[in-house]
């Protein structure tokens, strides 16, 4: 048994130490946002935030997570009370199938937490580990810019404070 803090809550997890975080999030905690895309750290679909940094949960074993704080997309907000980045992705309609989007959003969130006003070049560089097959890239870039703007103009929501490092 180990304790894992996810979205501000402590969970007792019974998993082998080599279990990747992704399977604990999906299988034990029934969270949907982090997605299995490759299990190889090649596509970014499984990205979550650990202690403020974007992490590929499919290749991060539980043994490395003792005492760390994990934030998933569910921890940022809800449909009725979306966080700025969730609002931005809705407003830009930045998805087709949307399978890659949760991972994209978490890396963008981590970027915006440490750099609230990234340039287009910085956003592209940051999202380099992420694949989108539908070709929704233009909208994703616009949504991250919009999220930056929304975070700037609105007070940080409690969810954002919670996931801050």
């Amino acid at each position: 048994m180990m304790t894992l803090k996810v979205n501000g809550q402590d969970h007792q997890i019974d998993a082998e130490p080599d279990t990747p975080l992704l399977y604990v999030l999906r299988d034990d905690l029934k969270l949907n946002a982090a997605k299995f895309g490759c299990g190889l750290g090649q596509c970014g679909s499984c990205t979550v935030i650990v202690d403020g940094k974007a992490v590929l949960s499919c290749v991060t074993p539980m043994v490395l997570l003792e005492g760390k704080q994990v934030t998933t997309l569910e921890g940022l907000g809800t449909v009725s009370a979306p966080s700025p980045i969730q609002r931005a992705f809705m407003e830009e309609q930045a998805a087709q199938c949307g399978y890659c989007i949760a991972g994209m959003m978490m890396r963008a969130q981590a970027l915006l937490q440490r750099n609230p006003k990234p340039t287009d070049e910085q956003i592209r560089a940051e999202l380099a580990p992420h694949l989108c097959r539908c070709g929704t890239h233009m909208r994703i870039l616009r949504a991250v810019h919009r999220a930056s703007h929304l975070m700037d103009t609105a007070a940080l929501s409690p969810a954002d404070k919670r996931s801050a490092p």
Binding site: Y23, D27, N32, Q42, M90, G135
Partner: protein, 745 residues
């Protein structure tokens, strides 16, 4: 319509030289084709033709709740939202007041496959007309009750309203059997100038859950008591399982069962990561005999055009084929096998209870896949239910149907337990049916007037659909102890076509000859991928048009317009050129080039023209799409933002196919099995800007636009590279190395 004269499809029998008319397509391919025997008039609109009852499409309950039904599957294109707009508009109810139920063999009409950009044309048209006719029935009922002429009544917000203010809600008016009537051939559709919901960029209904971690995909289903399965696929096509100590694997922690049926091997565990670990153990324990003989990766042109047997069809013969102009050129273009590359590997959940099988799947065709799975399990189709549940975008026939079959086969061995099968990345890349390799040979001449005098086009290709079909299309069924044979491949008939999709030019040439060399043997597993043959055929035709424009000394846009009679085609070409700032005699900045391309998908669906600015690094050969401007005419637009999203995506995805993508293999095995070995476009290659300009055609039929951008985007990019470098590249993908080699040559 400027449809070219199309000859009867003819099969040139090898050796005999005899021409016989051949129409022998099974109904299994019905959804990738449209040329069926002409139905008796009058034809009902869209899919009403096959499912004519209004309540197959629209249901209104006594409490006033409204449901629209579609047999098509939402694949991330956003049409679920578009269908809701159509129904809301024609019923005169608020958008949010109704819901849409998608493909489910228990609930919806059989609309075959969600493919070929047909969803709006088939299902959207059915819902449009069914909703309009339902509204008229409600008005007629209200007229009776209010004792007023129907024409004095209007509808608003889910009610019929009389001039004196009396109001009857749809819920009050509807009677049990009111909508259980056959549709009429024509409907009283609303005047497009009065539309409130159709034509609006309504936000997609599925996006909120997708950006907040809601249940959105089959991968997110968690049924009580669900177990996790992994399949161990053979290392190569046709490999046989010689031995495997399954007992040792079954002793691993939390492993529920190892299921073996011939060469089909799967492991089931209580928790997902235990299944992952058990799969590794099973893989180490399995000993295979491999026999596959794959063609030579670098010899594809010869394999396609000379080594594989072909059945030849002359699909266009216009004028005097031997006529020649003054200047003649010829060129050969090739396309490798390419992967759908879904970001989420295929997944399915199945449950077998009391002789009934339920499968939650991201298949594109719940009915045909149900038939195939029922055949595989020797069950009556009525005992099998398939429920479409979204997966990752598929862009054609990926591993979805196979994963559904895997889940069903395993679930049968574990009665009662919901079984979730998740493919691995390597399985999706290694076992999905790829977009087929193709070759085209073109020859044309320019006359004194600078126009094309004669045109010859030949395409070599496998079929572009090996969808189920029967059980033999499913990997699990092929691998069982009593296997089902892969069904013989068949060419998909024109006018939509498969390998010959868009092989017939839309341009008007006095002499034209087009041959389809259909290759029945499939050394690599293939099937339908977004655009089918149109991707390569449009790439070939539109690249060659630029080569001919250069020969004629004419601007490429002007050259196209000289040969294009279709007024709607001319409109999109002119629109894209104008919005791009294209002009005769233009000169791109150093290291850059401008490219243009146009097609009407299948010569009968949406029109799309794309102008591109491309940058080529002469030192490295790296090509980058800088900006693209597209114009599209998809008929009546339902959701302009959805259409724009599709075209933007088509341009980016086609750019990825065109610059980077090629399935690789050695003599035995597929070797492109993940994102390292099958690289696709990443953010560093995303263009600076994509502009999509829609030419709306209010009141015109929906044309379907999911695939219209693939071919023009490829050719526009290739033409931009040629313009930037002075070199013409004709073999896909247009890799950095190929461009560099061409520059250095």
């Amino acid at each position: 319509m400027n449809a070219p004269v199309i000859l009867d499809r003819r099969r040139l029998l090898k050796g005999s030289g005899a021409l016989v008319v051949s129409f022998s397509l099974s109904s299994a391919f019905a959804q990738d084709q449209t040329t069926q025997a002409p139905p008796p008039a009058p034809k009902l609109p869209g899919s009403l033709e096959k499912s004519p009852y209004l309540d197959s499409w629209i249901r209104i309950d006594a409490d006033g709740s409204i449901t629209a039904f579609t047999g098509k599957a939402e694949l991330g294109q956003g049409f679920k939202t578009a269908f809701q707009q159509i129904a809301a508009e024609q019923l005169d109810v608020p958008f949010a007041s109704l819901k849409v139920i998608t493909a489910d063999t228990k609930l919806t009409a059989n609309e075959g496959y969600t493919a070929g950009s047909h969803s709006l044309q088939d299902s959207g048209t059915a819902i449009l007309n069914a909703a309009a006719q339902a509204r008229q029935l409600l008005i007629a009922e209200a007229a009776k009750r209010l004792e007023l002429p129907a024409e004095n009544l209007r509808t608003e917000n889910g009610a019929v309203i009389a001039p004196d203010g009396r109001k009857l809600s749809y819920g009050e008016l509807v009677a049990t059997e009111m909508l259980h009537v056959q549709a009429q051939p024509t409907s009283k559709l609303k005047d497009p100038t009065t539309f409130k919901v159709m034509g609006q960029p309504v936000p997609r209904v599925d996006i909120p859950a997708k950006v907040t971690g809601g249940v959105a995909y089959v991968q997110d289903l968690r049924l009580p008591g669900m177990v996790h399965a992994r399949v161990l696929r053979p290392p190569s096509y046709g490999a046989e399982l010689m031995e495997c100590d399954t007992a040792a694997v079954e002793k691993l922690p939390d492993v529920v069962k190892v299921v073996r049926d011939g060469n089909f091997l799967a492991v089931v565990a209580k928790k997902e990561f235990q299944a992952v670990k058990a799969l590794s153990a099973l893989s180490a324990a399995a000993k295979w005999k491999e026999t596959a003989q794959l063609p030579k990766q670098d010899d594809l042109l010869a394999v396609l055009t000379t080594k594989l047997p072909s059945e030849d069809f002359v699909i266009l013969q216009r004028g005097n084929a031997s006529a020649t102009g003054q200047k003649t050129i010829e060129a050969t273009y090739t396309r490798p096998y390419q992967s759908h590359g879904s970001i989420g590997p295929s997944c399915a959940v199945a449950q077998f209870i009391d002789g009934a099988m339920t499968v939650w799947t991201h298949t594109q065709g719940v009915y045909p896949d149900r038939a195939a799975i029922a055949e595989m399990l020797h069950m009556p189709p009525q005992s099998v239910r398939l429920i479409h549940t979204e997966g990752s975008g598929c862009y054609g026939h990926n591993g979805a149907d196979d994963a559904a079959a895997d889940a069903a086969l395993i679930a049968r061995a574990l009665p009662g337990a919901p079984v979730r099968v998740q493919w691995t990345r390597e399985q999706e890349h290694g076992w999905e049916p790829y977009g087929p390799a193709m070759a085209t040979k073109l020859k044309a001449s320019i006359g004194d007037d600078g126009k094309i005098v004669d045109w010859s086009f030949a395409v070599w290709s496998n079929t572009h659909s090996m969808r189920p079909g029967g059980a033999g299309s499913l990997l699990a069924a092929q691998h069982m102890e009593k296997p089902f044979a892969v069904p013989p491949a068949k060419p998909l008939p024109l006018p939509e076509g498969g390998g010959d999709r868009n092989a017939i030019p839309i341009y008007t040439f006095p002499n034209a000859h087009v041959t389809h060399h259909f290759l029945p043997d499939m050394p690599i597993r293939i099937s339908a991928m977004r655009g089918l043959g149109a991707y390569h055929n449009v790439f070939s035709i539109e690249s060659f048009m630029d080569e001919l424009a250069a020969l004629a000394g004419t601007d490429p846009v002007e050259f196209r317009l000289k040969h294009l009679d279709d007024p709607r085609g001319r409109d999109v070409v002119e629109k894209a050129a104008q919005e791009f700032g294209w002009h005769t005699g233009q000169q791109a900045p150093a290291g850059r080039g401008y490219g243009f391309a146009f097609a009407r998908y299948k010569n009968l669906a949406a029109y799309c023209a794309i102008a591109s600015e491309v940058e080529v690094n002469r030192e490295t050969g790296r090509a980058r799409l800088v900006r693209a401007v597209a114009a599209v005419d998809s008929g009546q637009v339902v959701n302009p933002d959805g259409l724009t999203n599709q075209i933007e995506g088509a341009i980016v995805q086609s750019t990825s196919w065109t610059l980077y993508e090629r399935v690789t293999f050695d003599e035995r095995r597929i070797t492109s099995i993940d994102w390292q070995t099958y690289p696709i476009l990443r953010f560093d290659a995303v263009p600076e800007k994509i502009d999509v300009h829609i030419i709306n055609r209010p009141g015109q039929p929906f044309l379907g636009s999911g695939e219209t951008g693939q071919g023009p985007a490829a050719a526009s990019l290739a033409n931009g590279i040629a313009n930037a470098t002075g070199k013409r590249l004709r073999d896909l993908p247009l890799t950095r190395k190929r461009i560099k080699d061409a520059i250095d040559a």
